[in-house]
């Protein structure tokens, strides 16, 4: 089955104040129709920049050095800005971390909610309002007619995030990208929003990308997960294997240091060292080599590429890939 979205070797640099910051250094991933992909990583891993680059929402000082973003085979990085506008909101829509910041504070929620319909000439006036109100009801907002005329500041964070989700869905996109949609919310609300996202994805058969720093959230919400470090994908794994059978030392390290409520009597084992400084020239070999407990000589010389360790499971690590091959030979 051909992927709906395919990203090949995407790289993004930021040039500012005569300094270069290498935010994304060769990301390859794909999502199929009706599937959901989680992108996890810590701050500075490039996960958020990657999805903003897919939507071409990066600020002007960002330079996409190389790579391709293919939406059903069409490279969106080569589209004119005018053609790109037809895709944004219509074929790919986005939900952001802080809904209060991503809505115009001086306009009613309703007027902003119908904007995609008007922009893409799908509906206007009463028809647009009817569809918006229906959608508000669908995402679980009580008395949607009243809510339609209210301003963003009259909503709680969780409520407003539902509005943002409705706004992303109103033009019926093929791909929904959610960038840390629950990070700013309380845990009880987070659980509700994640359930909502999963349900909407199933009902509408669209593809979804969920960006999060929380591995457990990704594992619970998505079909497949990619783990990012230093602007590269280090592992691509089916979500049911993420927490138990991940192969990359960084992914395993992340899992080990995630606090778990069920088994919290021991303090998690931290990953040694500091995160990569993307303002400095990148190391020649594996980006994680300096912090890696399994490092071998090869790691500091050659950058590992994603290799299959199992069907649907790829890792960019010499040691892990080697171990998998050995395992296969022994079998």
């Amino acid at each position: 089955m051909a992927a709906l979205l395919e990203v090949r070797n995407l790289a993004v640099e930021f040039h500012r104040d005569r300094a270069v910051s290498r935010a994304v250094n060769g990301v390859t991933l794909s999502v199929e129709r009706g599937k959901s992909l989680g992108i996890v990583g810590e701050s500075g891993s490039g996960k958020s920049v990657t999805v903003k680059a897919i939507m071409r929402l990066l600020p002007r000082y960002a330079r996409s050095a190389s790579g391709a973003v293919l939406l059903e085979g069409q490279d969106v990085m080569r589209l004119s800005e005018g053609r790109m506008r037809h895709l944004r909101g219509r074929r790919m829509a986005m939900v952001f971390q802080d809904p209060h910041a991503y809505l115009n504070p001086t306009k009613t929620v309703g007027s902003q909610l119908v904007e995609p319909l008007i922009l893409h000439r799908l509906a206007a006036g009463a028809e647009a309002k009817r569809r918006a109100v229906d959608l508000l009801r669908l995402v679980g907002i009580p008395s949607p007619e009243v809510r339609f005329t209210q301003y963003p500041f009259e909503f709680s964070g969780g409520m407003l995030q539902r509005v943002m989700i409705a706004m992303a869905l109103i033009a019926d996109p093929d791909l929904l990208i959610a960038d840390e949609p629950t990070t700013a919310l309380d845990v009880t609300v987070q659980a509700q929003i994640l359930r909502l996202l999963r349900k909407l994805k199933e009902d509408r058969g669209m593809a979804m990308i969920l960006v999060t720093h929380d591995l457990v959230v990704a594992a619970q919400t998505c079909d497949e997960v990619v783990v990012m470090y230093g602007g590269t994908v280090v592992e691509r794994v089916p979500s049911h294997k993420l927490l138990t059978a991940s192969a990359h030392p960084y992914a395993r390290g992340l899992i080990a240091c995630t606090p778990r409520i069920s088994n919290a009597d021991t303090i998690p084992t931290p990953i040694a060292g500091q995160p990569l400084n993307l303002r400095e020239p990148l190391p020649g070999g594996c980006l994680f080599a300096a912090r890696c407990p399994d490092r071998v000589a090869q790691c500091t010389e050659v950058r590992p590429q994603l290799e299959d360790v199992a069907p649907d499971h790829q890792v960019a690590c010499f040691v892990a890939a080697g171990a998998a091959k050995e395992g296969a030979v022994h079998e």
């Binding site: 810590e42 679980g140 539902r162 309380d186 009880t188 987070q190 979500s239 049911h240 606090p259 409520i261």
Partner: protein, 338 residues
């Protein structure tokens, strides 16, 4: 119970007045914190947990109630009388960058509290600042780096080092690891455990992250809209939470054990978010009752008080644990009405 608690809050209340009216950010909160114990305060945003931290640190005046430190009432001490006490209570806040002095280098930031309390000579102060830097894992060569030049994790280390410079007994950690990535968070948690042993510290740990509280603390207080709804030893509360709110809170935490197996469950219906009550217009009786799955008429008329429900475990619910747990006549009555 003959030992004097290091910190005791008694019926502590803080009200804020605004355009919308008066609200109690903290409402009759009482707890005791023994030396060497670590109390975690958890709750959603707006539950008043950070206000409690500010109140016990005397950064905000309490509207009502008392704060005792080593048995001494410090609620109304003047700034001057408070000064020696401040040395013994230090804090680390959520946003290390905002709490470090922006016009001073990170080394000077650590020197600053010693300077204020006239500890040692300039040379001694600088030496101990460098020692602290190394202890929290920041190279002392970075003494003259400025807060905006180092990473968030490093900033938090410096904030901790600065708090330790006065050798406090009580360290208040207000969401101190919340803004950090997990790999850095784990490093800081290790550091906290290590320092606690070395300096024999007592922690008051405010956090919305229940898993982290479980790791660091011995006691936990769960807050909902300004009230403590459950209080007790971590082991008890996390294994069998008594209050419906605590139960909901624990159930919502994404956890490894509930990770989705392959080809997973699909939620059948979309639940709408029940709006928590406005702190300006609290419901009568129990303030959690509008969200509570087991609320009855009694909850509407009578505000539950904290009462013992297990070994050292207290909950403010009419129906948790103990003798009153069996169905109440009022409840059946309500169901009858429906």
């Amino acid at each position: 119970m003959s030992e004097t608690p290091l910190l005791e809050a008694s019926e502590l209340t803080r009200r804020f007045r605004s355009r919308q009216g008066v609200m109690s950010a903290v409402d009759r909160v009482s707890f005791r914190l023994m030396r060497g114990e670590h109390l975690g305060i958890v709750g959603a945003s707006g539950s008043g947990k950070s206000t409690v931290a500010k109140l016990v640190q005397r950064l905000l005046p309490a509207t009502e109630g008392h704060i005792y430190y080593s048995g001494r009432d410090v609620t109304n001490l003047g700034e001057r009388a408070l000064r020696p006490l401040r040395r013994r209570i230090q804090s680390v806040s959520q946003n290390p960058y905002a709490s470090l002095f922006p016009n001073k280098s990170i080394g000077q930031n650590i020197v600053e509290p010693m300077l204020l309390h006239r500890m040692g000579s300039p040379k001694e102060r600088m030496d101990s600042a460098m020692r602290l830097m190394r202890q929290v894992g920041v190279p002392s060569e970075q003494f003259y780096a400025f807060p905006h030049e180092i990473s968030g994790g490093q900033q938090q280390r410096i904030a901790i080092a600065r708090a330790l410079a006065l050798h406090p007994e009580l360290l208040i950690l207000d969401e101190a690891v919340s803004s950090l990535d997990v790999s850095i968070q784990a490093q800081i948690l290790h550091l906290l455990v290590e320092l606690q042993g070395q300096y024999s510290l007592t922690y008051l740990f405010v956090s919305h992250n229940l898993a982290v509280v479980r790791m660091i603390c011995t006691q936990v207080a769960v807050m909902f809209l300004g009230r403590i709804v459950e209080l007790g030893p971590v082991s008890e509360i996390f294994s069998h939470p008594a209050h419906p709110y605590t139960q909901a809170l624990l159930a919502a935490v994404p956890d490894f054990s509930s990770a989705r197996p392959a080809g997973a469950d699909v939620p059948q219906e979309v639940d709408s978010e029940p709006e928590p009550p406005s702190p300006y217009r609290l419901p009568s009786g129990c303030r959690y009752r509008t969200l509570c799955p087991i609320a009855t008429q009694r909850c509407e008329s009578e505000e539950p008080q904290l009462r013992t429900v297990g070994a050292g475990q207290h909950a403010a619910c009419h129906y948790s644990g103990g003798a009153e747990a069996e169905p109440d006549p009022a409840r059946t009555e309500r169901e009858g009405v429906r």
